[in-house]
Symmetry: C2
Subunit: 214 residues, 2 copies
């Protein structure tokens, strides 16, 4: 396979997310270089970038391996994500303008459409847009960046979560409540709802653990 239109970094990242590279697997620089038809230099740069966002682990003089996050680690990441999203929701409730609200409502509608046609992949995509609309409505560009970065890092696990039975319908119903709270300007309610929406707790914790074990 040779390099496509996307950047090398995205190429390797995709390989990790799709399971082409297994967690714990050693990433050999020359192998990657030949595989993507480039030299070691851009491969190293891509690996460093992936290391910076935590997708792979780079140990000096000892190479790079795909990060294998244990269940408790993933749980912690969702815990932090929940708090950041809750914060974004609280800010959005206070600061949103008409344009923000329109984006959020539009995204909600697309989520509903995807759910109605039982299209998990489509819902996954629309769900992302919905959450991004909230980040944007927080009017804190830094918070938005942080949320996007962490969201990206959690992407593979999030995808697994939606596969759980009924999760899509639950998620959609929660979205509705969240939008309501934001529209009403109820910051604390938006914070509370988003925290619970993201956090992995109760039954969902078990679901996550078992999905990681496969």
């Amino acid at each position: 396979m040779t390099a496509t239109s996307k950047t090398l970094r995205d190429e390797i990242e995709n390989g990790i997310v799709t399971g082409d590279f297994q967690p714990g697997e050693r990433l050999d620089e020359v192998q990657l270089a030949t595989r993507y038809g480039v030299s070691r230099t851009p491969v190293r740069e891509a690996l460093m970038q992936l290391g910076a966002i935590g997708l792979i682990e780079i140990r000096p003089r000892r190479g790079a391996v795909v990060a294998e996050h244990g269940p408790e680690r993933v749980f912690e990441m969702f815990e932090v994500m929940a708090e950041l999203e809750a914060m974004a929701g609280a800010l959005a409730a206070r600061r949103h303008n008409e344009a923000d609200m329109a984006s959020i409502l539009a995204a909600l509608e697309q989520c509903q459409n995807a759910a109605a046609s039982d299209d998990t992949d489509q819902y996954y995509y629309e769900n992302e847009i919905f959450h991004r609309a909230i980040y944007s409505a927080s009017h804190s560009s830094f918070l938005e960046e942080q949320c996007l970065a962490l969201h990206r890092r959690l992407r593979p696990y999030r995808r697994l979560q939606l596969r759980v039975r009924n999760r899509m319908k639950m998620s959609l119903s929660e979205h509705g409540d969240i939008v309501e709270a934001i529209a009403a300007g109820d910051a604390e309610q938006a914070r509370f709802l988003l925290r619970n929406h993201i956090a992995v707790q109760g039954d969902r914790f078990g679901d996550l653990i078992s999905s990681l074990k496969t």
Copy 2:
């Protein structure tokens, strides 16, 4: 100047924090290479790492410049930092063990000593240890990492803040209350106190703005 014992990345980072490289200044790869007596390759790696943590901005094919954060941007960063630290405090209140509490109390004492001798630099140092003790007591390694990363990014601005008159005494008194809440296991109180401790609000906002203008 030639490279010292520290890594090249720390070297350049230090140059930015100390003002050796001004915000907005262009960082030429060959200049840095000759300055530190290495080739362009390690310089590029160091720049990429600094770009990943947001200290510099890298635009493809257009080089790297030292990030210049406007006041509102810095405000947003403190806003997020406050929320993360508040979260760490809340978790610490619930999860801390004897060893955690001992570390926190020891750090608090060192803060008191530094404040007693009116040593701002020393207080700055001890303050960092105090906050790190709380991160650690949260028993969430991911949250701890996120806090450390953001703390590092905010380091230059934090330093400016302590210069404000009476801030050290205020900070110390707040530390006492925070420790009390954590020791009592009052998560919500710890969250509330830490959020206010970090956040830049009221008079402190003006202080920050003016310190950025110098």
